[in-house]
């Protein structure tokens, strides 16, 4: 299966901005998406873990995706997250994304019940595919056991690829386990595997990885994108070291709040600090420490208004 027409490289799990009253700030979201694309993002994996997607209602996701497309973001760079606990929600969000022309969807397994069988997760994905029943559907499996508590085993992926080779297109691997990423790339050539972090991006690209989908791309997309483009150049290892150092500094803090804190600072927009519960904004102290460690890495925190 040739998938060359799909975005590869760095896809951003776009942060979702809120107003102080916790309502979604649609316009800031659209502006942030435009800025990410201008800075070099190859695609936008809106409605992921970093996007607080599971803290949004299904209706909020539909409306936000509509808004993005209305305002001129090309649907063929969009990979919205659509996997919910309830089959009717997953089907509705997936159908909507396909109908609006999104190139793919990023699908969490149903994540409330723990200890479920591969058969049960297979059944869930299969039901979605059969119910959406659209040849344009491309599913990227979202493997993030540390949050979801359930995930996609190699044998389950093999079974899904056998049954739905034209639909099941790839996987985001947020296991945090390089051995798993490596095993996936080895087992399924042509299957688009995106590690959920840029920390081993170069290693992944060298063995056929599709790129990465990383939270910190919200604040460092230009540098990550450069590596996905120039990974065969002689200074690729140095580029990897640089983006890994920034990632390491940020991931000492809760990821969503830390990335939002950085955007609040560089855009001089305190509303970026707002998260929905159960997440919490960074404390002033944590922010000061984070900013100091980023400055030590020459990561610019100067105010800059994104040119969109």
């Amino acid at each position: 299966m040739s998938l060359d027409h799909y975005p590869r490289g760095v896809l951003v799990p776009v942060l979702t901005p809120f107003h102080q009253d916790l309502a979604v700030d649609d316009q800031r979201f659209v502006d942030h998406c435009r800025w990410l694309l201008a800075e070099g993002a190859n695609g936008l994996a809106v409605f992921g873990t970093t996007s607080e997607a599971n803290s949004l209602s299904a209706a909020e996701r539909v409306s936000l995706l509509e808004r993005l497309i209305e305002q001129g973001i090309a649907p063929d760079v969009l990979m919205p997250g659509t996997g919910c606990c309830a089959l009717p929600d997953t089907v509705a969000l997936t159908r909507h994304a396909v109908e609006r022309g999104c190139f793919g969807v990023l699908m969490l397994p149903p994540f409330y019940y723990k200890g479920v069988s591969d058969d049960g997760i297979y059944g869930s994905v299969a039901e979605v595919i059969e119910r959406v029943a659209d040849s344009r559907l491309r599913i990227y499996l979202y493997h993030i056991p540390p949050m979801a508590g359930v995930g996609f085993s190699l044998s389950l992926i093999e079974r899904l690829l056998k049954a739905y080779p034209r639909v099941v297109a790839g996987l985001k691997d947020s296991s945090g386990d390089w051995k798993n990423t490596h095993a996936l790339l080895e087992a399924f050539p042509g299957f688009e595997v995106f590690p959920g972090s840029e920390t081993r991006l170069l290693d992944a690209l060298r063995i056929g990885g599709a790129g990465c989908i990383s939270a910190t791309a919200n604040v460092n997309v230009a540098a990550i994108s450069r590596l996905t483009r120039d990974w065969k150049s002689s200074n690729a290892d140095a580029m990897q070291q640089e983006i890994s150092a920034v990632r390491a500094a940020i991931q000492k803090y809760p990821m969503v709040a830390a990335n939002k804190a950085i955007l609040a600072q560089v855009q001089d927009a305190p509303e970026w600090d707002v998260v929905r519960p159960p997440l919490r904004a960074l404390s002033a102290e944590a922010k000061a420490q984070l900013f100091a460690s980023l400055e030590a890495l020459h990561f610019s925190l100067d105010h800059r208004v994104p040119a969109v």
Copy 2:
């Protein structure tokens, strides 16, 4: 705070029946609720884990609750589950339950993000209370870390009780950890603690427990109800042993599928076997084993049409 006017005893986390196409079977649900009340249930904790509530969309839950009340189930025996990952969903379902006169709601914490702080969970519950803004609201916290991955610590409960003493009325403890149940009953007199199983029901009642909310009450409510009524009688320990043995036999299998299998058998209604993915129905082999072990306990599996 006197809570004597609320149901105590056995509350049933009502199984949700589906048609073969996975649509909710409203009428069978209403009939099952009527039968449970006729058999001695003191209340119905619809939309819990056993109900596959997180496999239902918010709209399905609203419509099913409407249907129940329309068909004459008294809202003052209802404690619907309303806790979702997304604040807008939790607020909408909670408001709906209060407006329809339900005596309380059973509230999961937002359960997608793991490793969140007590502050974050507090923030979520507080937002729901402030947004629903209705003096009739009574919240029962749903503590089920084995599924939700997050839960309510003693210090968090203390903080919630201090801030919202008239709203935060009790807790369902599905930790499976008797030490936790014991600690809750000791720490918060008057707070209505329902263990999530009948296995230690008598122990709980003897130290002030409110009763239990148990999956297996879907198939054994008369016997459990008898113990909550006659727990001071001389044969209470024997009654406890009997219901514990039935519970032990059932919980060797996945709880939802096992309870549905029993209802399919005793009601001669194979549709009861249908579960939504990611759950799976019991295999014929598992059913045969389950039924044999129940028969060994003189648990009747004879066909009986519920008199409703």
